[in-house]
Symmetry: D2
Subunit: 337 residues, 4 copies
């Protein structure tokens, strides 16, 4: 940690900072510049995270040197992590496709989509039983009934299930059905929920919050890892910006950035990011070209009747074409589908 | 709801939209322009919120006419709501000051701050026992022990207590202590938590999420109101923007905007918004000038030792001066402190 | 244009709006809903753009139906535009690569990069002679001297030249050298400069401003087109968001979005978007997968000595590898390099 | 400047960085931590601004210690600057009000507003003759004719004139009329225009760009100051964020922040910031409470007929009331109107 003092800081003020630093078992290294004095705190500065040296009126700025996350960093684990979702490997050579309806709406419609995903070559079935909705007056999900249909779809197609956990009190039911437990974007910093999935032993799909930096995302992953669960997949799904022609702004540069900073696999959800079905396929292809380990897309047989997020759902036929195109781009970047 | 069709939409396509609209018990009103046909859905369009007409490829745009929230709107309840927090009224002529440490750290320090808040004329004591922290390695709050100290501080000073609920499972303990239950910014769209505080009968302080619009905030309030709890106070505490010289960007225009759209009281938290103690007082004054019903600020006797958010805490002496200055600005805009 | 009145608007107020609309030669279409009256203005609503009906206190909202740009829209010209830059076609089947140093620094270094771009298969040489720099104390470009070197590089390699025009007073010199005249992101809404390049007859590369929506970008293009110059290439180069791990956030969804809204070609500049050399190649590949008509990247033989933007420059060897990888992705999406 | 090397940087790499630093006449100070080596560059680091040490692959991060601006900083000039606009002092005890129409539309209307501004106690008349408009199809301003009317209004009322310069080629005419030359938000980083007004000797009103940080704003001011013109007033007028209920998000915390970083006066334009007339007054009051040296607001006798930005214009009667309210808030914070 580097502490930059204001110009004209006195010797007594410098001594005060040094004393604080040493009180935490760190060594202090003083460097007097032409305009300002700088003090380096040497040792594991994470003990200082909570100690707000910036509150001293004679301190101008405090700059951390180390990353605030550790277990999630590539320095800690140089080789990439491969997460096994009931036999489907995410983070390896294969690009993994997770597809399905936004919400489970009824048994027939779910089974129809599940078959379509399977037939087109998709690897994992997604579908929400508990739905976080902006308005209390819109469809909130089928709850446990939805989980039953998901299990049935798995039994028929063999596709592992990805579904969202919104509330720690639902964990028993959700964990019985899910092979990949999703933490939604709006819950990325629901730290108690992160601890809950960290204590359990199933892979977690952690979606980036709408106003969260990559650093925030890796710190959220650190919550899960630090509880002992290392099977975390990160998901870029768009951030909130001033651009209103798309639902969110898909930040694909997060993929190579995360790959450099962390060992965790990264997938992309172009459906929620763009909010428009005609932008989903180009963004899915771009995600794979940028190095994503997989994509998650929404498929619905009748988007205009969907109970949630219809405008961003692909028709089964469009999904089939996408699978074909994805395969070509995956090969172009040395991967397979 | 207004449905704008693409140029050259056919009669059959128009008929399809009309049929959908009528299927929901609404009347359709067709208006053929020079370039596009527009269809209005007349009746309570909220039934259509879930029906994504935009998914039709021949629909260009769907524009809602009504606000998606109802109970939170000023149309629904023209006079302003006044929330009673154990005798302190928020939303009336008085500007209410909630102050205290970011986190409850220990008994002595809390009592010291509580006395200071009381002596300076503050109305409500704030303090976090459960703390949502970005990093798992920083102080997570004292939990139940912290609640005990808060209750003790109330017993001594008579100040009502505002404290945060992070997890529905903590509700029994938190509700025993709190007079005002805070939903933090990161949980503004934790819809299950919103339903939880909506079912209970204590005032709720709902903080605006970092990437949430005023519309999102009012929809989150609607979750609470629609469960039957009408005692909701909204709190502007900064949104996330590209400006990195402050922790967040305080959006004070949200105050008069919310006052126009809703009957709910609005307060401002300049401490979290700015992240810097020297910006807190000017922003608190500005908030009151803009029409805020109260402010929430952090006070700590030794900010450089604070276990969380020290750089934004006011010293007791600075807080006293702020109370004095606030009183003058409150009078200038026809209110009192 | 759709005018939504407040609830309880009177007949006299409705009549006032209708009179205003008819005063502009448009027809008014009144639709009374259950809660609000809505008035449609039928005809070319662009005459109303300047007439702020929203200023009436009884008007709640004004919603445009038509796009505010016309010549730039795909409705106006369904087939895609192909821009010819001294023989290089942008907007056709080929993906075009523009590469070179951020700034022209000296004769030798420019010629060295030009040869490298040529040898690796690049199509256009980029290089700034006039440089918009955030600080007045950093290198401001060589000016006319730089233009001379660019012309020399073209003479030797045959590569057409792309360079920036910052000030209308420099137009005579810049137009003598440039084959593609660049308007930088910070000048995207320098409307006088847009009119200047609109009046002249050379292709223009219009970079998206850091805080500009796709609609703003198309309106800026409209300024150029409406002066008679139809040879405009749009360039996505990142927008400003809260994410600070990259210089800007590259908005690749703008590519398919613009392709849908407009007939103009679109290229991507991953160097300025990311600000980090190690993110440039993945984002260039993603751009091509998403449908970009070309990319613009910075190449420098010694990035650590570059006079501007060194951290985002590719080494010649990295650029060669990128050309090879780009070729594969271009083929995967049915294009060539 | 602090250079943080990657873990495992070799002695040879460290030596390379030291050599670079010393080559610029700075001293290098090496500090070996437990995980990383850090090198401080001691001396005036501004010589390094252009030298991108971050381009070295073994450098992890480069952190500047000094502010990149000098003349604009409060360190350079501790006492506040007072700018004299033909007798009106901005930056002193008085809060200055600049008011008038967005655009000069015709002679009569301008004179009417000018009298109203004068009568209500306003200090400076604002009005645009050259208008930067997002669309080429909207009113672009009267140009020189507008300047004539402004001069006439000054002759009659005695109010100094603030008007915008968009293009260096218009400087002769604009400087003949203006007492305060405005650089609009969209031109804040039009560096050639900044140099133009820096070379001349009239006060400049520099509006913050929609996507510009406070640091960017101070660097833009530095362009003007470094050309020799020290009479610069900064203007906060809203930044672009995801919130779409207001035109922009007014960042009032920029006022106390700038006051701390710089000696230049700061005013606020709540009209452009909010885009809605009913938000203008509360935000003007808040600006003064936060410490602004003045405000700039738009006034129009018939907002619904305004040729630009009608929805944000105040009626003369509302403006009069605002002046009255402003006076009270100014007194509450120890200033006068």
């Amino acid at each position: 940690m580097i502490i930059i003092l204001k110009p004209h800081a006195t010797e007594a003020e410098i001594a005060l900072v040094v004393k604080k630093i040493e009180g935490f078992g760190l060594a202090a290294h003083i460097s007097k510049g032409t305009e300002r004095t700088i003090i380096g705190a040497i040792g594991d500065e994470r003990v200082l995270q909570d100690r707000p040296l910036e509150a001293f009126p004679f301190v101008e700025q405090v700059l951390p040197v180390l990353k605030p996350y550790k277990l999630a960093s590539r320095e800690f684990k140089p080789e990439g992590t491969i997460v096994n979702i009931d036999g489907v490997l995410v983070g390896g050579k294969q690009v993994v496709v997770m597809a399905g309806p936004c919400a489970v709406e009824n048994r027939d419609s779910l089974l129809q989509v599940a078959r379509c995903v399977k037939d087109a070559g998709g690897h994992i079935l997604r579908g929400g039983a508990y739905k976080p909705r902006t308005s209390p007056y819109t469809f909130q999900g089928l709850g446990e009934e939805g989980l039953t249909y998901l299990s049935e779809a798995k039994a028929e197609t063999g596709l592992p299930i990805a579904t969202e956990l919104m509330d720690p009190r639902d964990a028993p039911q959700v964990y019985q059905c899910a092979d990949l437990v999703q933490i939604g974007a709006r819950n990325m910093q629901n730290f108690r929920l992160l601890k809950e999935v960290g204590c359990r032993r199933k892979p977690v799909l952690l979606k980036r919050g709408l106003s969260c930096t990559v650093k925030d995302l890796l710190l959220a992953a650190e919550y899960i890892l630090s509880e002992g669960n290392y099977d975390v997949i990160l998901c870029e799904r768009g951030i909130r910006t001033f651009e209103d022609a798309t639902r969110n702004t898909l930040d694909l540069s997060a993929i190579p950035l995360i790959k450099r900073l962390s060992h965790l696999p990264v997938i992309v959800d172009p459906s929620h990011a763009t909010g428009k079905w005609h932008l989903v396929a180009p963004m899915a292809l771009a995600a794979v070209a940028a190095g994503a380990d997989g994509i998650m897309v929404e498929v619905h047989p009748h988007p205009e009747d969907a109970l949630s997020d219809g405008p961003q759902a692909l028709l089964p036929s469009t999904f089939e074409k996408l699978m074909n195109d994805l395969s070509k781009v995956a090969q172009a970047v040395g991967r397979s589908l």
